[in-house]
């Protein structure tokens, strides 16, 4: 394990997470490195099954049987998370690393009021609260009201007594963000925060996350399959495919000049008003089966540029300042990482 980089909040190296099923072992995450700096917003892009959600579920220690983290290190804020006991991990989860899920309707408990759902985070993690008694209750309510105000929910005190189904979709998403942020985490993992929302609400929710990020100075991992969202909000982007990172670098550079054919394909498949009338170009074929993957470029079967030399194991190569790509077609003169 190398020394932690200065300014680095989360550093994942060589992460392997597999699910042992009857059909075989699914290598959902296969040697993934992630680096998130303090205050930074990083976008993680990839289609369903690329391993982006599993990577960050692994970071949070939320992999359940039959899944297992098989290898790799996860360093967060100077601590080795994999070495922590479940109890120690619980203290970090929800306090220092928080998560929001794709659909607030399913992520919020239908049988508990939103007030209870926000209060329990504070109860579990906030050490500044008065120890017990009515003062504690009051302090919790005050903090909860403050959080709802922060995410822009009107008349917060009354809304605390309501149940999730009494909120609109956009308000629910805000509610979930309020819950996730109530302990002022250092890192927010936002898993598909906009997928379940209307376009207008999407913009509001992303603005909200950006705004709170600036105010609280936290880092954000934005997991999405929407490159437009990444272009607008993320400092850096990481593209995942079939359990591997295939390209990463500063957002503008990656989107302006993609070095991996998969990233290119993703960009070409976005409908754009400027190219009205032209055909959009979906990536042909399907994500490979993650069981029994051969030791070769995983995109090779769908890649327009593939050749015989792609049937070998491909490593990440430097691809410009602060950039790396898992492709041998456009090498930037650097050496491959092992």
């Amino acid at each position: 394990m190398t020394e932690p980089l200065p300014g680095c909040l989360l550093e994942v190296a060589g992460l392997r997470t597999a699910f042992h099923t009857r059909a075989g072992t699914v290598r959902a995450v296969d040697g993934v490195d992630v680096m998130v700096r303090r205050g930074e917003c990083i976008g993680v892009v990839g289609e369903s099954g690329s391993g982006k959600s599993v990577t960050f579920a692994s970071v949070m220690g939320l992999i359940r049987s039959p899944g297992r983290i098989e290898a790799g290190t996860i360093r967060f804020d100077g601590q080795d998370l994999r070495a922590l006991s479940p109890r120690q991990m619980r203290a970090i989860r929800g306090r220092d690393i928080a998560m929001t899920m794709q659909d607030a309707l399913t992520a919020l408990n239908p049988a508990l009021t939103v007030g209870e759902q926000i209060a329990e985070v504070l109860e579990a993690h906030d050490e500044d609260l008065p120890r017990r008694g009515p003062a504690r209750r009051r302090a919790i309510t005050d903090r909860a009201v403050e959080m709802l105000r922060l995410v822009g929910i009107p008349s917060p005190a009354e809304r605390l007594r309501q149940y999730p189904h009494e909120f609109s979709g956009g308000m629910r998403q805000r509610m979930m963000i309020a819950i996730a942020l109530s302990s002022r985490p250092k890192l927010l993992i936002a898993d598909e925060p906009t997928t379940a929302l209307d376009v207008t609400i999407q913009a509001q929710v992303l603005e909200l996350i950006a705004d709170i990020r600036a105010r609280l100075g936290m880092s954000v991992v934005l997991i999405t399959h929407d490159l437009a969202v990444v272009a607008e909000h993320c400092d850096r982007v990481m593209v995942m495919y079939a359990g591997e990172v295939v390209e990463e670098g500063p957002t503008q550079a990656v989107i302006g000049d993609p070095r991996h054919p998969y990233t290119k394909g993703l960009l070409a498949s976005i409908p754009r008003p400027a190219l009205r009338g032209e055909k959009i170009h979906p990536i042909k074929g399907q994500v490979p089966d993650l069981i029994n993957l051969p030791d070769q470029c995983r995109f090779q079967s769908r890649c327009p540029e593939a050749g015989p030399d792609c049937l070998a194991r491909i490593h990440m190569h430097p691809a410009g300042p602060g950039r790396r790509a898992r492709c041998i077609r456009r090498l930037d003169g650097g050496q491959a990482d092992e």
Partner: protein, 335 residues
């Protein structure tokens, strides 16, 4: 829960009770056997005496007239006099009711206290030895006939091991002046712990026998709904908040998983009524179930009809309670 809804429910009771009255009346009327002949037995009576008895009981009238009379009287709260006990039916039933309620409540408590934790454990430790044992056990629990299981328990604990009594509510040596009619409560109110233990020992086997099928059903329902709930996003989200395992399981999972369990429990409580007749007979429990069985044998029409009406009312009310509990647990549903 509005008053109109409550009134609506009570109004719904009327056709149910009417229907039940007619059906019970017809079934009793069609059952072979003549109450008058049963009463006379081997005694030497003249034809005139027999006719007089038949007239006194109102049995010389045509069936439709008797049915109309019964419904009419029942509507005004008069259930007539028991053929056998020669006392008002309501009074005879009221005397037996506490024993049955006590037995049912204890059976219900045993069922709830074992089935819910077992169901949760089986779901959390899915496919473990415990899960398999619980699943097989619940299958047995549903399929074993109550009278047979009760007799097995009696043979083991009462006959072989001599640790629990064979029948009745209390030993002959103990007696307690009733306050509520519920022995477990009365013994405590009278400050007689020895009698309490005695009553507890007596109620244990019948309550277990009575509660067994319910335990089995509730365990399966809890396990299934718990498994369903544990897959939900809100459980992952609760874990992502860093809550303790217990809190996630109890507050987040169980509260949702109990919604079907509670509804089924309330309805299954109705099935305890039927079970009571068998269990009370096996364990010599002086409750309503045994009274009804005995009354059927002597063709005590007024008593059987009234008791069955009472069962019907209880059943409908339990369903109502199930609905109320359902809305209480599930904020998305309003009555």
């Amino acid at each position: 829960m509005s008053l109109t809804k409550l009134v609506e429910r009570l109004v719904q009771l009327v056709p149910v009770l009417l229907g039940v009255s007619v059906i019970v009346f017809l079934m009793m009327a069609m059952t072979p056997g003549d109450p008058v002949q049963i009463m006379i037995g081997d005694q030497n009576v003249t034809a005139a005496q027999e006719a007089q008895l038949r007239h006194d009981l109102g049995l010389d009238r045509p069936a439709y007239e008797r049915l109309a009379l019964f419904i009419g009287h029942a509507a005004t709260g008069h259930f007539g006099e028991s053929f056998y006990y020669k006392r008002p039916v309501a009074q005879v039933i009221a005397e037996r009711l506490p024993a049955t309620i006590e037995l049912s409540v204890v059976a219900l408590l045993i069922a709830l206290m074992t089935s819910i934790p077992l169901g949760v454990l089986a779901a959390v430790k899915k496919n473990s030895v415990l899960d398999r044992l619980a699943t097989v056990g619940s299958l047995l629990g549903v399929s074993l006939p109550g009278f047979w299981f009760g007799i097995l328990l009696l043979m083991l604990f009462a006959v072989q091991l001599h640790i629990l009594p064979v029948s009745g509510r209390m030993g002959f040596a103990t007696s307690i002046r009733p306050i509520t009619g519920f022995l477990l409560i009365d013994t405590l109110l009278r400050g007689d712990p020895a009698a309490f233990v005695d009553a507890l020992k007596h109620i244990l086997l019948p309550a277990i026998t009575l509660g067994l099928p319910m335990t089995a059903v509730l365990m399966r329902v809890t396990r299934t709904s718990m498994l369903e709930v544990l897959r939900q996003d809100y459980i992952t989200f609760a874990e992502a908040k860093g809550l303790s395992r217990t809190r996630v399981l109890v507050r987040h999972a169980l509260k949702n998983a109990l919604i079907p369990t509670v509804s089924v429990a309330a309805i299954e409580t109705g099935s305890l009524l039927g079970g009571n007749m068998i269990v009370e007979t096996v364990f010599g429990w002086p409750g309503l179930g045994r009274l009804v069985v005995d009354s059927i044998f002597v063709r005590d029409y007024p008593l059987v009809q009234t008791a069955v009406l009472l069962y019907a009312v209880t059943y409908v009310l339990l369903n109502f309670v199930a609905d109320i509990l359902y809305t209480f647990l599930n904020p998305r549903v309003k009555l």
